[in-house]
């Protein structure tokens, strides 16, 4: 178990220095839009695609957690406490994975365009939401960060946000009004994608792993199914889905990556019993579950069906 004190302090420090919990520079993480074709199609709007950087950060987090996993419960666990603040830039270069996750963000943005949704993207206004600080019970750190983010967005006249992962959606929609006094209209991309088509059967059957925040906190599990229905993609739900979905173990990976791995394995076993292709809709679930077999992000499947 990594000591929560150490974990919280380093997340707090990193967020203060760089705006994200890993302490990486923004130019290193947020690159998905470089060379993006859709760039021409988005303009000056008050609706902004707000990725919250979670997809982009996840490959780095995953690399780091790999190290933490190896060191957990060994003498090296304590050594990690004295590591320089941000050795990650040098240590972790998950090039291929970063490209994969950037690709997911690009596919989501492309699908939004395809669906006829008007929005803008401003990399300099796309910030990490601060969710980890909130989860860890560091309300002070979270409040400070959320005030900073909200102010930046307000300054530039942003009123509506399109989010792409469950954690950022929850934090911006449910917590920012309370902690940052910021009432943005927050829509998750799965709530607004609408291809207005009734497609023929795509010949895939999925089993969906609903993120806990879509299933319970936000209660929007039906949205992904609505989109799949319109694309003619079938799915076979298991008991532990929707409101009863089970966690992938991700949220405790900074405290006990070993326990996270066991939880994820259990969940993967359960999902794979249907024999169908498994799809997730959260970057954290994706990296945790794919350690045991093939998993796709639902946005990749949607994109594939729309562009087929």
């Amino acid at each position: 178990m990594y000591h929560p004190h150490y974990v919280i302090r380093s997340i707090e420090q990193n967020i203060k220095n760089t705006g994200n919990p890993l302490g990486l520079s923004r130019s290193q993480i947020n690159t998905w839009w470089e060379g993006w074709e859709g760039w021409k199609k988005v303009g000056e709007k008050d609706t902004m695609l707000f990725t919250g950087l979670l997809y982009q950060l996840t490959p780095y987090v995953d690399k780091l957690v790999d190290y933490l996993y190896k060191f957990e419960n060994t003498f090296l666990e304590k050594v990690t406490r004295f590591m320089p603040k941000s050795p990650l830039g040098i240590l972790l270069k998950p090039q291929k994975e970063a490209e994969h996750f950037n690709g997911i963000v690009r596919k989501i943005a492309d699908s939004l365009i395809k669906s006829g949704i008007d929005f803008c993207y401003k990399p300099e206004l796309d910030f990490y939401s601060g969710v980890l600080l909130y989860d860890m019970g560091d309300d002070e750190g979270f409040t400070e960060h959320s005030l900073f983010v909200a102010e930046k967005l307000r300054e530039k006249g942003i009123k509506k946000l399109i989010t792409i992962d469950p954690h950022t959606t929850y934090v911006l929609r449910e917590l920012y009004p309370e902690y940052a006094n910021a009432e943005f209209e927050v829509k998750n991309y799965l709530e607004i994608l609408d291809f207005k088509s009734k497609k023929e059967n795509e010949n895939i059957t999925l089993t969906l792993h609903d993120p806990c925040y879509y299933g319970r906190y936000l209660e929007i599990s039906d949205e992904s199914r609505r989109i799949l229905d319109s694309l003619g993609i079938e799915y076979k739900d298991i008991r532990n889905s929707g409101k009863l979905t089970s966690c992938c173990g991700g949220p405790i990976e900074s405290i006990s990556p070993k326990l996270t791995k066991e939880v994820a394995e259990n969940r993967y076993d359960e999902l794979s019993k249907t024999g169908c292709e498994i799809a997730t809709m959260c970057p954290i679930c994706l990296v945790n579950l794919r350690k045991f077999g093939e998993i796709k992000d639902i946005s990749e499947i949607i994109w594939g069906a729309v562009n087929a």
């Binding site: 178990m1 000591h3 919280i8 019970g137 259990n266």
Partner: protein
């Protein structure tokens, strides 16, 4: 919680096997109960409201509860502020060199009563089959209602051989234990139980079970001690009955085989000890946890608990255990092992917002810089 327990749990795969097996056996039954007996939801609301009302004025209700039974013949009533005081009272009643039969009771785990009574020179037997297995293994219960959930039949058989019970199948073992226990019941000087619900109106103690051993432990011995933690006090018999029905329905065993309603009877001395142990002093955010009826559903459905069992936690493990540890003043940084996924809240009959409680505990630790050395 000791940190190494988590790694012990990860290695011990029979914990997850047992919990998942129980989950698979019971979750359909629970869902059917909820579907079929629509009144359960209403019962839960009534009980929760009544409990919150009792907590809003613990002193008055405890006094009322104590009075309701004090006036009875053959009954002594005590009040214990904490575990230490409760143990002292029990020691004075019991003395030493006695045979004691115990009904399964989490509150007695909370104050480590069995170990204490053994230390002062008594022979103590857990009469619930699962609890007896845990006693023989010298472990703590792995789940509030299914203490030996992590033992296979073969492992259970091995442990039971320590007390001369023979056999291999569940039926053979149950029969063997029944014979063994019958003799203890007949010889026992003292019976001890906890309490699922206490009626402040009539002074009756409600206990629900499936094996029948609670009935025997509490009726056969000459002295009967009931430990009633004050969160068990409810205003009426009706509410107590609602609570025991809920507890059974939400574990999946409904209708329960036995509902015991205990009160002082001729030929037996009854001793009722009301126990506070942190409940009155619980901060506002923990009040909701006190409405818990300890059905253990949040444990079985929790993805972390499914790996660790109650090794994650102190007396009570899992999501509800975090809140209870807060009440008992023994929360440590195990509360950072919850993923806050919210499944516990979703399945809890009392709709207790455990993720909120766990985050509040974290906040308390972060704020108070109460995270220990770095």
């Amino acid at each position: 919680m000791r940190e190494e327990d988590i790694y012990k749990a990860i290695k011990n795969r029979s914990i997850r096997a047992g919990i998942l097996r129980t989950w698979e056996n019971l979750h359909n039954a629970v869902e059917q109960n909820i579907e079929r007996y629509r009144f359960l939801k209403e019962y839960a609301k009534d009980v929760k409201m009544a409990k919150l009302e009792v907590f809003s004025d613990y002193d008055r209700w405890t006094e009322k509860a104590m009075k309701s039974i004090e006036s009875r013949n053959k009954c002594s009533v005590y009040y214990a502020e904490d575990g230490k005081e409760a143990r002292k009272i029990v020691a004075e009643i019991v003395g030493r060199d006695k045979i004691i039969v115990k009904a399964k009771s989490m509150v007695s785990e909370e104050i480590q009563l069995r170990e204490f009574l053994q230390e002062i020179g008594n022979e103590v037997w857990e009469t619930d089959l699962g609890e007896l297995i845990v006693q023989l293994a010298n472990e703590k219960p792995m789940h509030v209602l299914a203490p030996a959930i992590h033992y296979s039949e073969r492992q259970a058989a091995e442990l039971l051989r320590k007390v001369g019970v023979k056999g291999y199948t569940a039926a053979e073992l149950a029969e063997g234990v029944r014979k063994f226990m019958r003799q203890k019941f007949l010889l026992a000087d003292v019976g001890i139980s906890g309490c699922n619900a206490f009626s402040a109106k009539t002074g009756r103690i409600f206990l629900v079970e499936n094996e029948g051993n609670i009935r025997l432990s509490t009726t056969l011995p000459k002295d009967y001690i009931a430990i009633v933690s004050i969160d068990k006090i409810l205003p009426s018999d009706e509410l107590c009955l609602k609570l025991v029905i809920l507890q059974a329905a939400f574990l999946g065993t409904f209708p329960p085989a036995y509902i015991n309603v205990n009160e002082p009877v001729e030929g037996q001395r009854m001793h009722v000890i009301f126990l506070n142990n942190g409940r009155k002093q619980a901060p506002e955010f923990l009040k909701e946890q006190l409405t818990c009826i300890k059905c253990g559903r949040c444990q079985i459905e929790c993805p972390i608990f499914q790996i660790t069992g109650s090794l994650w936690g102190n007396v009570y493990g899992g999501p509800m255990g975090m809140g209870w540890s807060g009440i008992l003043g023994e929360i440590g940084y195990e509360c950072f092992l919850s993923s806050l996924c919210g499944k516990c809240k979703e399945v809890c009959p009392m709709e207790i917002d455990m993720p909120r409680i766990i985050r509040e505990l974290r906040k308390m630790m972060v704020r108070g810089n109460n995270l220990g050395e770095v």
